[in-house]
């Protein structure tokens, strides 16, 4: 049951009112923000998702190190409250611009200096996340929109602003998943599974040849590292319609990490896993063992970099990669030091991916989890 706008405004105001009271009482004001670091992230073995731990950080106004963050948090809080009061739906970029001011001040050497309230969007995004964890309200509930990278195509009909949108009738194009998929009404789904594709290029090729029609599935892409709306859309399809979710990425630690995000969430955003993660997402490839299984030509193989190896070593330690299958693949990668892209499968012809690889992996249950 979603919170009402009034409830949300009240909870946001509560955070700021505490600071105002401290200040008026002459107490050095501070905010308490749950810590969003790996150390304060807990693996929920039962639900196979990441959760935030109990650690909290005190953000004090009078502490030189945290003063700016303190100011930024209050600034952002005021912006969000204003938008909510006016029933506006700013994007995170809107909020960034709306709060980006130039502060003019005199520095310790008596020189006139200028400073921006924040220098880039990472800073404003970070305080948005802080407000989310501090209030327990997700940004989507606060009416904040963000750039939506995801696309979907297949036998699914949704309703938005009263219009029915049939994603099987987009031609060469696709339907862009809107920033807040919770406000989409999913009218009809007629598909056996969801195929999540790392790369837009592959998505477009499969759409071009109408793979979804042939295999009766939905195609989704988050264009690399997925954003929240793509993940939420996939989660809804799995949760509300019980569709199995298959993920297709390159055979490299970066691709596997993308799978990891669809499945269990990113460490920096672990507090939203409950609404965004897909703990049962199945990885259909590409795996290191595919190199041998599909006889990939040598000159399609790319040498792994030191960074790849380091990342793979990290992945091995993630709780959701502790399965035998994943440990085997990661160890094999570390041993062989070889990676391939999805496109490497085209060594067997352009149609190999869609006519052989994907159907075979699904049919023979060659996916891993």
């Amino acid at each position: 049951m979603p919170l009402s706008d009034e409830e949300i405004i009240a909870r946001l105001e509560e955070l700021g009112k505490r600071v105002a009271e401290q200040l008026l009482k002459g107490i050095p004001p501070y905010l308490e923000i749950p810590v969003r670091t790996l150390k304060n992230t807990i693996w929920d073995e039962k639900n196979k998702i990441l959760r935030l731990g109990p650690a909290k950080a005190r953000r004090e106004y009078l502490d030189v190190k945290s003063a700016k963050k303190f100011m930024q948090t209050l600034l952002m809080l005021s912006l969000i409250i204003m938008a909510r009061r006016e029933k506006d739906y700013p994007t995170i970029r809107d909020l960034y611009y709306m709060g980006k001011h130039t502060i003019t001040y005199i520095d310790v050497y008596g020189r006139k200096r200028q400073e921006e309230t924040w220098d880039d969007q990472r800073e404003s995004n970070s305080v948005i996340e802080d407000i989310e964890v501090a209030t327990g309200i997700l940004r989507e509930e606060m009416g904040i929109m963000h750039d939506a990278k995801g696309k979907i195509v297949g036998n699914i009909v949704v309703r938005s602003k009263g219009y029915l949108i049939d994603c099987s009738k987009m031609g060469s194009g696709a339907y862009a998943i809107p920033p807040n998929p919770d406000r989409l009404e999913i009218v009809k789904v007629e598909a056996d599974y969801v195929l999540v594709i790392e790369k837009d290029a592959i998505f477009e090729r499969l759409n071009e040849e109408e793979f979804w029609k042939r295999e009766n599935c939905l195609l989704v892409t988050g264009k690399g590292q997925p954003d929240r709306s793509t993940r939420r859309m996939v989660r809804r399809l799995w949760e509300e319609f019980g569709l199995p979710v298959y993920v297709l990425t390159d055979a490299d630690p970066y691709g596997w990490y993308i799978y990891s995000v669809y499945r269990s969430g990113s460490i920096s955003l672990s507090y939203e896993s409950e609404k965004l993660a897909c703990p049962e997402a199945r990885f259909i490839g590409v795996t290191t063992s595919d190199i041998k299984r599909y006889n990939i030509p040598r000159n399609y193989i790319i040498a792994a970099t030191d960074r790849d190896l380091k990342r793979a070593t990290e992945l091995m330690k993630y709780p959701w990669f502790k399965s035998d299958a994943w440990q085997y693949e990661l160890k094999l990668f570390l041993k062989k030091k070889e990676k391939i892209e999805i496109e490497a499968l085209s060594g067997h012809g352009f149609k190999f991916l869609s006519y052989t690889y994907i159907p075979e992996k699904i049919e023979k249950k060659l996916w891993i989890i």
Binding site: L12, A20, L24, G26, Y61, L62, A67, F70, L74, I103
Partner: protein, 527 residues
């Protein structure tokens, strides 16, 4: 073996006079080329003049002049005139014309020590231009002023008096006026000489010094009439004996056979800072009979005695009376004036000794202001008030300064830091006769290190204080910088007036930052 026989037949052995030795090896004394030689000549004469004045309580008036006699041939004249004690007429020829002759072979601090410098200048002038050294001198109260022209007979190490005159001293002048004509490179040595004069004035603020040369005139008027205490002649300190010194001191007793002193008496009589109690305690510790007659001591006894004297740690420090340091106040004043630093501190250590010679280390640290940040601290070296300009790399001070972990003292390199070191001693252990680099004698090294560290701790306190003040300032600036944004955000969130929050922040800054900062300032000041 016939060829070898022939060669051997030609092998002759012979002795050499000291004058000839230094004539052949003039580089050792710093006369390696016309540039260096001119600089060295000025130095030797100026230092003799300062010794002849301040050591006798006379406020120095020094006049230095370099003229280009024949610029094409690099022939220059150097003239230095002082108002010192002069040289008695019977001694003058030897003082200027005999190597290893002089009045400074005593246990007290002076600029000259080797009895060599002026003679080298005379030798160098003689071999490059053939011209004799011209001297005009009068001792205090002398009725006459004596003039000499002197050359050196190199193979015999004796003065050749070319001419000698005397005139009535009607104005009761006293002092020495020396003129040398030599091959010298003025353009090459000009800056170095000017720098030398400048630094000399810095370490002798009680002197009037006038320097004239082609294109240069420097006049330093004295800024104080206070002279440092003149040094007294002292005795060797027991910590730094060697067997030879013991032998020499023992042989100094005239009636050794008839009236030999006891060992205890010997120690009390011949050594600095040794009284009866000290002597007895030491001899007991060292396993010697205090009543043994010193004429009975064998070489083995002397070896043991020397070793035990060196090992013993309960000696009192040597007396400072033969030394004449500048003192912390004068040193700080000079350094501040020359370097225009933000912060200067000076340390004058208590006397210490090495090899029987007392010494005092003085150090000043200067930080900030007009000093340029450098990777290594700027080093200004002095020894017995002589500025050392060459061979810094070989000097013990450079070694000590480089070995200091400046980070420990809150100095991050590159830093605007200058280190001034001043070693006063009855004998400064120079590495060469050129008197430019001090050897790394462990005792001196330790004292320099301790002095620098003591000064550095003061510098650290200064920098800490600065840092703490800076922390308060940074805090103040940071908090007030964000006050407007914070107040506005809270005003929006709570739908109240921004002003009430601005005022609340102002109160907070007042009570939590400014008052605390004042406390820190006060605490630092009390130290």
């Amino acid at each position: 073996m016939t060829i070898l026989d022939e060669i051997l037949a030609l092998e002759e052995y012979k002795g050499l006079s000291p004058a000839e030795f230094f004539y052949r090896n003039r580089e050792i004394a710093g006369f390696s080329n016309p540039t260096r030689a001119l600089y060295q000549t000025v130095r030797e004469l100026v230092e003799n003049s300062l010794d002849a004045t301040e050591m006798f309580g006379i406020l120095p008036d020094i006049y230095v002049e370099v003229e280009e006699i024949n610029p094409k041939e690099n022939v220059v004249s150097v003239r230095v005139r002082d108002n010192g004690i002069g040289v008695p007429p019977e001694e003058a020829p030897n003082v200027f014309g005999r190597v290893f002759y002089g009045s400074k072979y005593k246990l007290r601090q002076s600029r000259g020590i080797f009895g060599l410098g002026v003679k080298m200048a005379v030798l160098y002038a003689q071999m490059t231009t053939g011209k004799p050294c011209e001297i005009r001198t009068a001792t205090p109260k002398s009725d006459y002023i004596y003039s000499f022209k002197i050359l050196i007979d190199i193979s015999k190490n004796k003065p050749i008096i070319v001419s000698k005159r005397k005139e009535k001293n009607t104005k009761r002048w006293h002092g020495t006026d020396v003129r040398l004509i030599l091959e010298g490179n003025w353009s090459g040595s000009k800056n170095r000489i000017a720098e030398y004069i400048k630094r000399t004035a810095m370490i002798a603020p009680y002197a009037n010094i006038t320097f004239r040369g082609p294109g240069v005139e420097l006049i330093f008027k004295r800024v104080t009439k206070k002279l440092p205490e003149p040094p007294e002649t002292g005795k060797p300190h027991p910590k730094g004996v060697d067997i030879e010194l013991l032998k020499q001191l023992i042989s100094g007793f005239k009636n050794l056979k008839e009236d030999p002193p006891t060992l205890q008496e010997f120690l009390v009589t011949c050594f600095d800072s040794v009284g009866t109690i000290t002597a007895r305690r030491f001899l007991e510790w060292a396993g010697f009979d205090p009543n043994v007659r010193i004429d009975k001591l064998r070489i083995r006894d002397l070896e043991k005695l020397a070793r035990r004297m060196k090992e013993y740690n309960e000696w009192r420090r040597p007396r400072a009376t033969p030394l004449s340091p500048l003192g912390e106040d004068l040193l700080m004043k000079g350094v501040k004036e020359i370097l225009k630093a933000e912060f200067v501190t000076a340390v004058t250590r208590k006397p210490a000794s090495y090899g029987g010679h007392p010494f005092i280390v003085e150090v000043a640290l200067a930080w900030g202001g007009e000093i340029k940040p450098m990777e290594r601290p700027l080093l200004l070296r002095f020894a017995n008030k002589i500025p050392l300009l060459y061979d810094e790399g070989a000097d013990v001070s450079r070694k000590v300064v480089d070995n200091i972990d400046w980070n420990q003292y809150k100095v991050k390199m590159p830093a605007p830091l200058a280190v001034v070191t001043h070693i006063c001693s009855t004998k400064v252990p120079f590495k060469g006769v050129g008197k430019e680099a001090i050897a790394d004698v462990p005792e001196i090294e330790k004292e320099i290190e301790n002095a620098i560290k003591e000064a550095a701790r003061r510098l650290r306190r200064y920098l800490s204080k600065k840092e703490k003040e800076m922390e308060v300032k940074v805090k103040y600036v940071t908090i007030t910088k964000y006050a407007d944004e914070v107040a506005r955000a809270l005003a929006i969130i709570t739908k109240r007036d921004k002003e009430i929050y601005l005022k609340a922040i102002e109160r907070l800054v007042e009570t939590r930052i400014l008052k605390r900062g004042a406390r820190i300032k006060a605490r630092v000041r009390r130290r």
